[in-house]
């Protein structure tokens, strides 16, 4: 079972991100379970949502406390809550920022872990560029697909087409595609830039 935890703020599409991840996994014939952290949603408040992916039925209903991957939609959360709590030693981290992990003061975490599994993506900018809104969720799940290899880009695109239509779908597909290849490039460079 592969477990993903998404951190963000109310209004950033955190819950939608996990739902779309689960749809993408489903499109590949896999079992997936997405669920929010059940808070009273408020714009700007920290929000957590979860997604499990497996090849068999998922029965487990506990929150994800030891994720295989973290998607962090808002770097300002790093100073507010322990987003890395429980992350598996060889876990993946995709962070929405145009800065590097080092400039954000996260060098220590990189030293302790598999740095090649840490990646940043300017997802808010990519959302703005392609969709016209500063919503980072779709770029991030596409970037996550590239970083972890857990799901394919075409599955993410299928999930986008299920969720959106017309121009919004087109914009999101463009954002997802650019994000996917951007992360692929970064991984090729071997680094966590």
């Amino acid at each position: 079972m592969f477990q993903i935890r998404v951190h963000g703020r109310g209004g950033q599409g955190v819950v939608t991100a996990t739902e779309m991840l689960s749809v993408a996994a489903f499109e590949e014939g896999r079992h997936a379970q997405a669920f929010p952290s059940f808070g009273s949603e408020r714009t700007g408040a920290p929000v957590v949502a979860f997604c499990r992916i497996d090849d068999k039925e998922i029965r487990l209903r506990e929150p994800i406390m030891e994720p295989d991957a973290l998607i962090i939609q808002d770097p300002t959360l790093l100073h507010q809550i322990d987003v890395f709590a429980g992350l598996k030693q060889d876990g993946y981290v995709l962070l929405n920022t145009h800065h590097s992990f080092e400039t954000l003061g996260l060098s220590d975490i990189l030293k302790e872990r598999k740095a090649e599994r840490f990646c940043t993506l300017p997802a808010t900018e990519l959302g703005l560029k392609h969709v016209g809104r500063p919503i980072p969720n779709v770029p991030l799940i596409a970037g996550f697909a590239a970083l972890s290899g857990t799901i394919k880009l075409e599955s993410v695109i299928k999930a986008i087409n299920e969720k959106f239509s017309g121009k919004v779908a087109e914009g999101n597909i463009a954002a997802a595609t650019e994000s996917y290849y951007l992360v692929k490039e970064k991984i090729k460079g071997g680094a966590h830039a």
Partner: protein, 417 residues
């Protein structure tokens, strides 16, 4: 059609396939997505003929459902928590009048303290209301139980609550096989009411009944639930023939054949329990599970049969009878009267407290060794409890408990200055 969808959306689609004629509901988390989706279907014409009635409260929702059902319309509503409590007077009337309304309860805790998260306090507070109550383990089962519920309710002319864990199921995206309209039509005939308000053949429904007949009317409500004990397995078997999957029934067991320790529970936590049991089985523990689908009527004989061969059982329940202990556990112990079986109760998951596998491992191992007190509160923060108890000993004016505990835990500062 197999799809990846939200539990609430899946239930809304299942309800629509049951061709309800009147839907009336008042929004309350975590039920809202269900009736929102149904409202959209009625508005777009996808669900017709059906009237969606906006009401001003839950009391009105149930009252409208009563009127609609008495007029011969297949009627549906949904609620949770305080919403259910607010409609209670009408809830008892619906069952007392024998009206086959189907209601989803998206199980949520009851305040105070106000809490929107999941436990089973709301529907269990209505255990004696005369409504049948079925508990879903997964979103697939929630879909299937709703389809069976209309059949069951209308066969017996009695209302039924389909209970699904709020947020944990209602807001979870998982794969669900939504049946076709043909399948549902083959299983669920049009509503043919036993009693109906019809201007052409006037009757009254809701007579005042004195001591000369009240007990008989009440006994008949009980007798109907006893009939349901026979009907529920039949409807589940028939469901399997049409839809090809096991769903519903009175109880379900897992790894129970040679189990020395049995875990009894209801709802979505059964999934986490089964995963825990698999891991313990792999280590050689003789442990099994009894899931109760039908809480009302309570299947005493089936529960007894399922527990007869174990040595001990633990009822893990998301509800608390304050001043007593377990609510479900009381019924389970009634079922095993005279067997000498050792029974434990674990109160867990109140107000949305997560029930992690790690805590279950510990609890089940203690149960195996019979090292538990009669009632255990899973993952209770004893430091926080004891601190407040000490505060109350020290200070006559110790203040509001919820605010004190939150303050101690540093979650919010409820105190000023």
């Amino acid at each position: 059609m197999l799809k990846q969808t939200e539990g609430s959306k899946a239930v809304a689609e299942a309800i629509a396939l049951c061709r309800p004629e009147v839907i009336c509901a008042y929004p309350i988390s975590p039920q809202t997505h269900i009736v929102e989706a149904l409202g959209e279907m009625v508005k777009s014409g996808e669900l017709m003929p059906c009237e969606f009635i906006n009401v001003e409260s839950e009391f009105a929702a149930m009252s409208v459902a009563i009127g609609a059902s008495a007029a011969g319309a297949r009627s549906y509503t949904a609620t949770a928590s305080q919403g259910l409590l607010f409609m209670v007077e009408a809830v008892y009337n619906a069952s007392g009048l024998g009206l086959p309304i189907v209601m989803t309860v998206a199980n949520r805790a009851i305040g105070a303290p106000i809490n929107i998260w999941n436990d089973h306090s709301d529907s269990l507070s209505q255990r004696d209301s005369g409504w049948m109550q079925l508990f879903a383990e997964t979103n697939q089962e929630a879909v299937d139980l709703h389809i069976q519920a209309f059949r069951l309710a209308e066969e017996l002319s009695m209302p039924i609550m389909v209970c699904m864990d709020g947020f944990i199921l209602t807001h979870a995206f998982e794969r669900v096989d939504i049946p076709s309209q043909e399948q549902v039509d083959a299983y669920l005939p049009p509503f043919d009411p036993r009693q109906v308000l019809d201007p052409a053949e006037p009757v009254s429904i809701g007579a005042m009944v004195g001591p000369e007949a009240f007990m008989e009317v009440k006994y008949l409500a009980h007798a109907k639930q006893m009939q349901a004990l026979e009907l529920i397995p039949q409807l589940s078997a028939e469901f399997k023939k049409v839809f090809g999957r096991d769903s519903g029934g009175l109880v379900r067991t897992y790894c129970a054949d040679d189990a020395e320790t049995m875990i009894v529970a209801m709802g979505s936590v059964l999934g986490t329990i089964k995963d825990t049991v698999d891991e313990m089985r792999a280590e050689g523990h003789k442990i099994g599970v009894l899931g109760i689908v039908s809480y009302r009527p309570f299947p005493l004989a089936e529960v007894r049969a399922a527990l007869m061969n174990c040595k001990r059982f633990i009822v893990l329940e998301k509800s608390l009878a304050v001043g007593m202990g377990g609510i479900v556990a009381t019924d389970v112990r009634m079922a095993v009267t005279g067997t000498g079986l050792k029974g434990f109760t674990a109160i867990a998951g109140l107000g949305g407290r997560p029930i992690p596998k790690a805590s279950l491992h510990k609890l089940f191992r203690q149960a195996e060794k019979e090292e538990l007190p009669p009632v255990t509160f899973l993952d209770l923060d004893w430091d926080a409890v004891n601190k407040q108890l000490e505060r109350e000993r020290q200070n006559r004016h110790s203040g509001p408990i919820a605010e004190n505990i939150l303050h101690d835990k540093g979650i919010v500062s409820a105190k000023f200055g």
